[in-house]
């Protein structure tokens, strides 16, 4: 694709994205979630696709961000005791208070995500855990996090945590969060695009293809692995913080550490679109989100069965994803060249 067409296409996507919530006001929340899905798929693919470390526990960072943002905002404006017991309904915040609390909370959740990823990275990645062992270990982390949150009174334990009521002066909640997620995803996409085109991208691809060889060539494998993992955790935590406020209620296992839904979906979306590519997770997330909404709307009652069949179909017919399939079919345009 020539660079002119590339810019036209990019501007088109951005223009549609900016206008979409105004054109479809009834679907603002769903559209906001569309960006969340894209973000989930992209953050998963950074470590799971580009670096080849299949993680089943990225949901940990999502839930962590959700709780950190909510707790920071709560502690800034309310007494903990009164808040927990009347579940947030003490008083509504002014728009100013809400915004300050939210953004301080999102910042804190980003930092918390990076710190946790650093610690986990030092325990798992720096010690050389790989392959299935890494996958199973992260799966355990996701489940453990949900259990811990369910038993901790300070964050509402099993009965969850209600986030502050969205103040009236800020317009519609869906619209507000739509733009937050849109900007966050755009930032993530540009960051990844930049990283994948340089030495960093080659290094994590090398780790994916043959980590022993990468070590034998002197590549700082541990450094790259932890940076990738922290970067993924940062965006995931901030997104989690936003989702908690958009949903309005944080349940420890159904919303925050929702391994069976968001935790699995982020992997599926990346695989559907084509893992290890920049556009694959984006395309996968869009298709998945629309399909899922359609199933829930038109096949209600059977939606989980159909979703299961859809997932099987993805894995069987598109093992390398849409981008992988397109690359095989039109190698000149989407994939590598087959002749010199």
């Amino acid at each position: 694709m020539s660079s002119v067409w590339k810019y036209v296409a990019y501007s088109g996507v951005i223009a549609i994205s900016v206008v979409a919530p105004w054109a479809l006001p009834a679907y603002q929340t769903q559209l906001a979630f569309l960006w969340v899905m894209v973000l989930l798929a992209l953050t998963w693919d950074l470590v799971g696709g580009q670096m080849g470390y299949t993680s089943f526990g990225n949901i940990v960072f999502f839930g962590l961000g959700m709780y950190v943002t909510a707790v920071v905002q709560r502690n800034m404006h309310f007494g903990i005791e009164e808040y927990v017991h009347v579940a947030g309904a003490v008083e509504t915040l002014t728009p100013q208070e809400y915004i300050t609390g939210l953004f301080v909370g999102l910042g804190a959740s980003g930092i918390a995500g990076v710190v946790l990823a650093g610690i986990l990275g030092a325990c798992l990645l720096a010690t050389g855990m790989r392959g299935q062992y890494f996958g199973i270990c992260t799966l355990g982390l996701g489940i453990a996090a949900g259990e811990l949150a369910s038993g901790w009174e300070y964050i509402g334990a099993g009965s969850g945590l209600v986030t502050p009521v969205f103040p009236e002066g800020l317009g519609q909640r869906g619209l507000f969060f739509y733009y937050i997620f849109f900007l966050l995803t755009l930032m993530l996409f540009l960051t990844l695009g930049w990283l994948y085109s340089g030495h960093f991208g080659l290094a994590i691809n090398a780790i994916r293809d043959d980590e022993d060889k990468a070590e034998a060539m002197g590549i700082h494998t541990t450094r790259y692995k932890i940076i990738a993992w922290c970067l993924s955790a940062f965006f995931l935590s901030v997104a989690g913080g936003g989702v908690g406020h958009l949903v309005g209620f944080i349940d420890p296992t159904e919303v925050a550490f929702a391994g069976a839904t968001f935790g699995v979906w982020m992997i599926l979306m990346a695989i559907l679109g084509g893992k290890g590519t920049l556009w694959g997770p984006v395309i996968g997330a869009v298709i998945f989100h629309f399909t899922q909404e359609l199933f829930w709307t038109y096949l209600f009652g059977w939606q989980r069965v159909v979703m299961g069949a859809f997932i099987v179909g993805i894995v069987v017919f598109f093992p390398r994803g849409i981008m992988g399939w397109a690359g095989d079919r039109w190698p000149e345009r989407f994939g590598h060249r087959t002749t010199g």
């Binding site: 930049w194 990283l195 085109s197 340089g198 030495h199 960093f200 080659l202 290094a203 691809n205 090398a206 994916r208 293809d209 043959d210 022993d212 060889k213 990468a214 070590e215 034998a216 060539m217 002197g218 590549i219 700082h220 494998t221 290890g276 590598h336 060249r337 087959t338 010199g340």
Partner: protein, 248 residues
Amino acid sequence: MSDSLLEVDGVTKRFGGVVANDNISLLVPEGGIVGLIGPNGSGKTTLFSSIVGYHPVDSGTIRFGGREITKLRVPQIARMGLLRTFQQTRIYREMTGVQNMQISVSQSSLSLRQMFSKSPPDVIERADHLLSFVGLFSKRNLLAGDLSFGQQKLLEFAMALMNEPKLLLLDEPTAGINPTLINGLIDRLLRSNAELGITLLVIEHNMRAIMRLAKHIYCLAHGQLLTAGTPDEIQNDPRVIDAYLGGS
């Protein structure tokens, strides 16, 4: 002794009850080409792995460029300029030839900014140059995994050169390569030694190849150092012939 780039002194490596390397000592002079031969299972690759830090040795020391590296780990040793290639060729399969080369630049002098930016033009230029050197320039945009085995071996060799090592440990560079290509490969190995100044330590089963390459040869058998000498001495040593043909 001070002109030795690599000094292996009394290295012993056991795997459970099996002694894979028993008190092995060898010297690789700066700028030289040294051969390492021996029948299958004689401990050549184990010695390579010990030298590059892949596993800890049970006793003995390894010095590289005057500095002890016995306890260092693989990436640290690699960044000092001591590199190995693998018997089972290892390249980055899902990346193109050029990308394989780009990521193989020496990592020791890489600044934080370079870790996150695109490869500078001189890196691409050198990658193209080395790919033509091994005859893979026309295949540089193919995925490395789609290359034939022989081509992958050449790519791995080019990747090693890209790293600009001081010492290169080659594990059977001619295995699986057709006889016509072998001559070309030996020429390139000699040229990398003469023109790029890379010291070579080569494991080889192809006797004709190693006799052409090396000026000094060590022969292992059953984990022990059997003998060492010039190619002529080795060729005429009855113990070497016995070891290979199972006489003793």
